[in-house]
Each structure stands twice: as structure tokens, then as C-alpha cells.
Symmetry: C2
Subunit: 335 residues, 2 copies
């Protein structure tokens, strides 16, 4: 099958560009120095491709991602970089994956208690390094590590995500260094082998973590492209034009905001202005006097945010050139 | 099970409020005068509840919604209020639902051709009544109806969605009347029994259509609530607080923009300010000096846009009071 024979809306991944992105990141962060973040792609087939390139330790944001990666035989070293207080659910996932190594982030006595009750063996102390979200005060990290060890947990080290600096345009390197100084201070208190952090936006600037938590680099989006992070847009949304209004000067394609993450604003079409995304439509006009497409023409939409675009689809169509070579289920979505 | 025992994030529907919304709408638009729009709820269990209240004719935006409603035995009168050019896929859906009555919107010779080749029997001429999207020029409706009839299709009438006026604050009634004048003019050219249009935002103002295409009224959201449309918010996102930063004054709950439609901006928490939604987190502070919740507390989030919130979930948890009484699969999502 060729790309233009796919039923639309179709989320399409260019395999050569994906492989090039993995190779580029792997050159800087080889093997388990990279901890690919599965929340970006939610797909064990894509995770398998990363593992085949030597990146066998994965980062996740949900228990479903942990369970799915473990079930796919990708459980060498799974990190839930997120807090959990539901000990029953956590226990079910741990017990359902007896062969997996599962490490959980904790940032409070409550999350340490949940981990201990759930039968977790290993934790990272999650440290707030400047973005308001999860993570303890850096000064609290040692106390929490002691509390974890008192409950029989192994503290492998620390994690801290400088998410507020991913697309920072001014002095990004110095600001990342300051954020990581907080993490290193916490690590001095906690000990352990692991200092986990960073992301696609800081991959070339964060020289302090022992492992990089990056996922978006695999598929990319217009938001990270605009920030100049240096990877190729390997994922697109393929649509079909279903209506054209020549008098009004707009065309309408058959996929919209239910097929796209909208938190970073509208997506992009090369040479066109998107007027708006509706539930199942994208309405656009052409720039520079270019003619409108015809009903039945295909149109390529570049998503603004990879993570919540992927999570709205049940599959990724994998292509080489114009040929569809595989279909990868988005099998890690939902919770 | 009680609400506060649900694994989170959980999308929860209050059955009594849902029934009250259906009853209120049904009093104004009884039986098949209401054509509930399944795109809002994407759930055959909820559709069944509408059918049991006499609303047995459904509106849809995707072929998956058509196929799913037909498979669930809800195919009395299904309208795809959207354009299709993929005749093969349309034919497969038509042939897969031999007992269903399926009507397709058309707005061009290309969509008429696809419908004829797919074996469709009945169409509505889709008319543009002021919102840039699909729909023919009103002056073209008669010509398209003739073209459809020349291909052996039955033109049941017209449809036109005044979507740009759903939350219009100034002279909404007069503006809806002007939009519907375009639709009535098109209907004069086309004939047939059906004049289909309107939505939750114009349910009390549109006196010209023979059937109302409304879906959001069932579950509602903060966007329509702010517009004062008069239905109750029957759907909420239930989260658990997983991290609290007392010094910084914020709390973090375990669901975010992957569990919420974001095109209408942030959702709402009563008595709180939402700082932002991340992929799997909602960060918020309390207003008026109210204390922050504790780790493990539940929090209720009111979605800003019902349609793209539902479509990100695999189930609706149905409650009466604090009791969970059912689990309805969101079985009409994807395409």
C-alpha cells in the first residue's frame, strides 16, 4: 500500500527519519545513557526499535506504559518518572511483571508508603528543579531517601526534570546548569548511581545527568522544530480534502482536533494558513496565490505537539518513501 | 464501587444529571425532532439511553460512528453529517450494516459521485450557512440535488450547521434566523422532508429546522455553561492529588492534557486556579486562602470541551450519587 491509499486521518511515521533521529541522539547518548520516554510515542513497536539500537532502559509517565512495555519483553529497566499513591494498582502492575525491573519516582512520605506497600523494590527521589509540578524540595531529598531505605526500598539515585527550560531561548545552557546544580545537591544527599533528567529540548545542553529522559526527538513536532533542537519531523498527519470553497478561498480536510494535540496551538500545513481545527476538520487557505487543492487531494499536516497527538490514535502507519511498510499499534495509550 | 475508589484519571458521568439533560432537551425536541450528535459522546451505551427516551435517529461525524451505532442495533436513521470521498471505505460501511438506514451529507459533485459508487441510497445536500467549513453555496443546492437524483440517489432534504453562532452573545436569535434563511432557500430548491441543523448552543433559538443536531447537551462542559445554554454539567474528570508543594503553594493531580480537550483552553476546578495541564498532570493552587489538598485527596476537574475530552478515554464511569453503577465503553472513538 502507498501513503496516498491509507484511510484518513492517518498518523504516518517515516521510518528512515525515525532511524536517523535515533542514530543522532544515540551518538550523543549511547545505550542506557539514553532513557527514551515512552510517553511521547506510546508504542511498543517503536520502543523495540530503540531497544534494538541499544537503548533498553525506558522512561514512562503512566502505569499502563510500564505494564505494556513489560508485557512486550522490554522490561530490562523501566522507570515510572511520576508519582503514584494508588498502592493496589501499583502492586497489580508490579506483580503482573515479575521479570521486569521497575523503578518508581517518589517525592513524599505518602508516595514512599505507597511504593513500599505495593512491593516496589527500587525508587528514585524526584526533585523539583524549578518547574512547578512534582518533585521534593532539593533540601528534602536526603530525608526522603532515608525514609525510603527505612521502608526497605533501594534508592537508586535522583531524578529532576527541567521542563520549564526545554525551549528556553535565552541562556538555556546556564539555566539548565543552575537547575542541575539543585539536582546534584540532592544527589549528594541521596547517593546511588542514577541522576536522571533532561529531555529533547536540553539534549545538547544538559551535561550533568547520567541518563537523558527524552522521547519527542523520535517523532518530533513543529514546537520543538521552532526551538531548533536538531531532529527531523518524522511524523505527520495525512488527511484528505473533502470540501473546497473556491469563492471563499478555503479548503476543508477530514481530520481535526480529535486527531491532534491542541495545547501548543494549531498544527501546520506547508504553504498554507490553517484557519482552525474543528473536531473532525481542518480548514485552511493557500499562501502566495497558490491554488486551492481539489476535493480528494491529500494534505500533510505537521502536528504542533507529538505526545498528545499520538495518544489520540490507535496506530502509527510506518512508511519508507511512499510505501507503507508496517502498522504499529499505539498500544500504550489510556491509563 | 464508590467514585473515590475509581482508578484515576477517570471520566465520570452522573446518570441523574444526564437523564435530566435528555428530558429537558426532549421536552423541546421530542422523538426524532432531536437527532443526537454521537460525536459528542462516542458511546453506544449513552446512545441507547437516548433511543430509550425516543430519540432513535442519530447524527455522526465519522464512518466509525456510523458503523458502531449500526452494529449496536441503533441504525434506524443514521446521518453522516460530513463529507466523504473514500468510496471504498464508505461502501464497506454501507455493506456492513444492511439493516441500517444511512444518509450521507454531500456538498459537491465529487461527494455525490463517491456516495453513488459506494451504494448509498439517501443523501442530504449540505449547505454552507456562514461558517467556513463544508457545505455548498446555498444557490448551488438545487443543482447538486439534481445531480444526486441523476445518479439514482434520494435527496431527503438539506442540512446546514450554524456552528459560528453556537455561543454568539449578541442577537443570537436574529443571526440564527439569517443563517437558517439561507438553509430554507436551499430547501426550496431541493425539496424533501428534512431540514437538519442547529446544536446545543442554538437549541432554544433555532425555530426553522425540522430536526436539531445536538450532542453536547448530554454531558456539557464549561464552555457551553459559560454561554448559559441551560443544561447541567453531567461529566467530570476525577483525579488524585499525587504531589503537594506547600512552600510554592501548588498541588499536582494525576491527569492532564491527554485526558482533556485543550482547544477551549484549560479546564476548571471549583475554588482553584489551574496553572497548567501537562501531559499527565494538572497543577493548581487554591483561591481565597483555602488550604491545599493533601496527597491522596481526590479532585474534580470540569472539562472545557466535551467532545475531545470523551474521545481521549476508553470508558465513561457512570454514577448515581457516590456509587459507580456502570461502565460504558467509548466504543465509537478512532476513525
Amino acid at each position: 500500500m502507498r501513503i496516498d491509499e491509507l484511510p484518513t486521518p492517518a498518523l504516518v511515521v517515516d521510518l528512515d527519519l525515525l532511524d536517523a533521529n535515533i542514530a543522532r541522539m544515540g551518538a550523543a547518548w549511547p545505550g542506557t545513557r539514553l532513557r527514551p520516554h515512552a510517553k511521547a510515542f506510546k508504542c511498543t513497536s517503536l520502543a523495540r526499535r530503540l531497544a534494538d539500537a541499544g537503548h533498553t532502559a525506558f522512561c514512562t509517565a503512566t502505569l499502563r506504559e510500564i505494564a505494556g512495555l513489560a508485557a512486550a519483553g522490554l522490561g530490562d529497566d523501566l522507570l515510572l518518572a511520576n508519582e503514584v499513591v494508588d498502592a493496589d494498582r501499583l502492586r497489580a502492575v508490579i506483580e503482573g511483571a515479575p521479570d521486569a525491573r521497575i523503578t518508581i519516582a517518589v517525592d513524599s512520605v505518602e508516595t514512599i508508603d505507597a511504593a513500599a506497600r505495593a512491593g516496589v523494590h527500587e525508587v528514585l527521589i524526584d526533585v523539583n528543579v524549578g518547574m512547578p509540578r512534582c518533585g521534593c524540595d532539593p533540601a528534602d531529598a536526603g530525608r526522603l531517601a532515608d525514609a525510603a531505605r527505612a521502608r526497605g526500598l533501594v534508592a537508586r539515585g535522583v531524578m529532576g526534570y527541567e521542563g520549564h527550560l526545554m525551549t528556553e531561548p535565552v541562556d538555556q545552557g546556564a539555566k539548565v546548569e543552575s537547575a542541575m546544580a539543585l539536582l546534584l545537591d540532592a544527589h549528594d544527599q541521596v547517593g546511588g548511581d542514577v541522576i536522571s533528567g533532561g529531555g529533547t529540548g536540553s539534549w545538547s545542553k544538559n551535561h550533568w545527568v547520567t541518563e537523558l529522559q527524552a522521547g519527542s526527538f523520535t517523532l518530533m513536532d513543529t514546537h520543538y522544530e521552532a526551538a531548533g533542537v536538531g531532529f527531523a519531523k518524522a511524523m505527520r498527519l495525512q488527511l484528505t480534502v473533502v470540501s473546497v470553497n473556491g469563492t471563499g478561498g478555503w479548503a476543508t480536510a477530514d481530520g481535526g482536533l480529535k486527531a491532534l494535540g491542541m495545547d501548543h496551538g494549531n498544527s501546520s500545513i506547508d504553504g498554507a494558513d490553517i484557519w482552525y481545527h474543528a473536531d473532525e476538520h481542518t480548514v485552511f487557505s493557500m499562501r502566495d496565490g497558490a491554488p486551492l487543492p481539489a476535493v480528494g487531494d491529500r494534505v500533510t499536516v505537521w502536528p504542533a505537539h507529538v505526545d498528545p497527538t499520538v495518544s489520540q490514535h490507535e496506530q502509527l502507519w510506518v512508511t519508507r518513501g511512499d510505501e507503507v511498510v508496517d502498522r504499529w499499534p499505539v498500544d500504550l495509550r489510556n491509563w
